[in-house]
Symmetry: C2
Subunit: 226 residues, 2 copies
Amino acid sequence: MHMATTAPDTGTHAPPLRERIAEAAAKVYGEFGFRGATTRRIAEEAGVNEVTLFRTFGSKAALIVEVLERQVGAGLRVELPETPRHPGRELLHWARSYHGHVRERRGLIMQSMGEIGEHPEVLSPMCKARDREFVVLCAYLDRLRDAGHATRPYDTVTVAAMLSGTLFSDAVGRELFPGTYPADPAQAVVAYVELTLRALGVADPVPSAEHAGAPCSATPSSIGPS
Amino acid sequence: MHMATTAPDTGTHAPPLRERIAEAAAKVYGEFGFRGATTRRIAEEAGVNEVTLFRTFGSKAALIVEVLERQVGAGLRVELPETPRHPGRELLHWARSYHGHVRERRGLIMQSMGEIGEHPEVLSPMCKARDREFVVLCAYLDRLRDAGHATRPYDTVTVAAMLSGTLFSDAVGRELFPGTYPADPAQAVVAYVELTLRALGVADPVPSAEHAGAPCSATPSSIGPS
DNA sequence: AAATCGTGCAAGCATATACTTGCATGCACA
DNA sequence: TGTGCATGCAAGTATATGCTTGCACGATTT
């Protein structure tokens, strides 16, 4: 057993070798999956000898598990306010965070989803992360209705599944299937939130100031026809 | 070169050996991906000797390519009417087909998405299939607006991305992340369509008769609060 | 100066995998 | 009866992969 599990940290700001390997592994795994992420490839990507990889993590499986727990377990931790004041602005903030979070990890997420059947131990952190975001959104949607912002009835689980599913699909599929998503991702997220709030019957969904940051056209609402 | 590319069909109703192998390959690929779908596993699943696999398809890559083209290329081919009459009913029909189509192939689809980077030749049929469904939906949404069914402006691409993204995410993620989707899938699809039409400002979205087939609660609308 | 430690390098081992070859077997059809 | 033909079976080849071992080199510590 290699007892160098704790970070070496030889000195004040030691070269984070463990970090470098983990980052390289995350990148390679996101591109090739578990089977495709060979120890040789990871070592090369990290600029490290293959043996060092085994000496540092013990085995390839241990490496990947640590990487996935680190990446997936690190949820976005975006809170939605306890008392909704500006539903459009607040939901948009959450949607942007969620969309960006998934988009940055889309390779890793796709590989993990395909390999859950073979490596079920990965499912638990992913499930927990997903659940966490989901209940946050659901609870906010409940509060939104209780506060009287919505003029139409709705099932929070369905609405939450719809919004998060839309954002997930966009974040993951936009690079794979160009042309089947709105051209500008930032503007797309705004439009998704606006459409969602429309369905709930929330007035003045997204303040026009929030449209900034995207090469916005002259159209007042980003969901208007082109 | 094995010139037995055309089906042997020795006799009237020959045992479809090529089919059996292809089906087994599709199943194994959907579970383990390209690397994980070893020729041994596929042969065992098909109840066939491993050599027969090579004699029939030439190589593993050729086998998988044929399987994927067959599965993904076979789109659902559900038409949306030229002149919308009952938007709820018509969209629901499309949504059910799309949801079922993706759900039946979710393993294969997830594996393919993760491996597009390595096997780009697979991307083209997937892209074409996806595009086909997407433009069908977009065109229908355009017709819906032009026919005056919708009372609110919208960008068809955004709405199409939202509805198809929601259905895709539900079909793929419902087994992986239980609890983050409405319990009954059939009812969920109805609710997604209703919410979408709400956002477009279409009145009387889904005729209540269409709610049949799902263990429907006493709620008149399936998107009402539980 | 000596010892320790982290790392690189070269080589190797055991296994798995895609794929091939040669031969035997059984079935259809003449 | 005999002749193809499709398939199974056993064995083998070349390569890739996870992982190990032994040794050398340099920096840090004692």
